[in-house]
């Protein structure tokens, strides 16, 4: 089992300073992600304000059941992630690996469902471009442009999260974490929850307009 001292990077005075710095660093990174996605959210807000009817009409063509299911899956993955962090703090390595694996699994299912959705939408000519057609017209194309851009960017982030958490699981299996050194798991968790929060906002904006 590695010494806790090896976990301490030389620029820090002690593990608690290191942990706090890394945590704050991750929150800072998440703030940059808020602004990164924010540009897309701004475009959505502007154009929904300009074309409310077209947005509603186009939104009705999204896969409501799959979208809702995916939201539930991602929310559950946040639960398993929070439980994983708890296991890390309690130095329960086996539980940590199990819960990280569950999170990765749920994330992968999310991506699979998303991929299936995309496939369906593309075959229904909803991918913006030369073949786009919503009931014979080009209406709502800008909605679907934003749909593919925003959910696509989100999916890339989910994929990155899956890689990150898999890496954490590998480190855990190699006994790299100890009773005092586990903050990489914590900050990976922060990233995963952030990806969930983005989806929490995407879901109603994509799937729930025009239902009434």
């Amino acid at each position: 089992m590695p010494e806790p001292a090896r976990a301490l990077a030389e620029q820090f005075d002690d593990l608690s300073q290191q942990r706090e710095a890394c945590e704050l660093g991750m929150w800072t990174f998440l703030a940059t992600e808020v602004l990164f996605f924010g540009g897309l959210f701004l475009a959505y807000i502007v154009y929904r304000g300009e074309y409310p009817q077209e947005f509603a009409e186009a939104s009705r063509r999204t896969e409501l059941v799959l979208g809702t299911l995916n939201t539930a899956i991602l929310l559950t993955s946040s639960l398993t992630m929070a439980l994983a962090v708890q296991a890390a703090r309690a130095f329960q390595t086996r539980q940590l690996v199990v819960r990280l694996t569950l999170t990765v699994l749920l994330g992968s299912i999310f991506l699979a469902v998303k991929g299936f959705e995309y496939h369906k939408e593309i075959s229904e000519h909803l991918l913006p471009g030369a073949h786009y057609s919503l009931a014979g017209s080009k209406r709502g194309e800008i909605f679907f442009y934003l749909y593919f851009a925003m959910t696509g960017l989100h999916a890339l982030h989910v994929l990155a999260g899956i890689c990150l958490l898999s890496g954490m699981a590998v480190l855990a299996l190699r006994r790299r974490f100890t009773s005092v050194y586990y903050h990489p798991v914590e900050i990976s968790g922060l990233y995963w929850h952030f990806v969930d929060i983005v989806w929490v906002f995407l879901y109603p904006l994509i799937y729930l307009i025009g239902l009434r």
Binding site: E23, W27, G49, L79, V200, R212
Partner: protein
């Protein structure tokens, strides 16, 4: 810095999140006019607050962390608000000819 929440709390939060999901789904099917967006957004914010406070342990974090989080959200607000100051005032009667 508060002590971390027990396991039970995580399950309760998860159930609340799913409950809010159901709520937002149900509310979307009612005709509330302009209010639909407000309701949907409010529920999203509520879910976000739960995730931030409990899953992301913001409840137990130092105040400086809260400042960093608030700054990110506030700045997004600036981007949206000032841009909309253009789009929402473009077609006001006094200006358009």
């Amino acid at each position: 810095m508060k002590t971390p929440a027990p396991t039970r709390v995580y399950w309760i939060i998860w159930a609340s999140l799913l409950g809010l999901l159901g709520l937002t789904f149900g509310a979307a099917r009612l005709n509330l006019g302009q209010f639909n967006s407000v309701v949907a957004l409010t529920i999203s914010v509520a879910k976000t607050v739960l995730i931030l406070l409990f899953f992301m342990h913001l409840r137990e974090s130092k105040r400086i962390t809260w400042v960093y989080v608030a700054a990110g959200l506030f700045w997004l607000g600036l981007l949206v608000a000032l841009t909309l100051s253009d789009y929402w005032t473009r077609n006001l009667a006094a200006v358009s000819k």
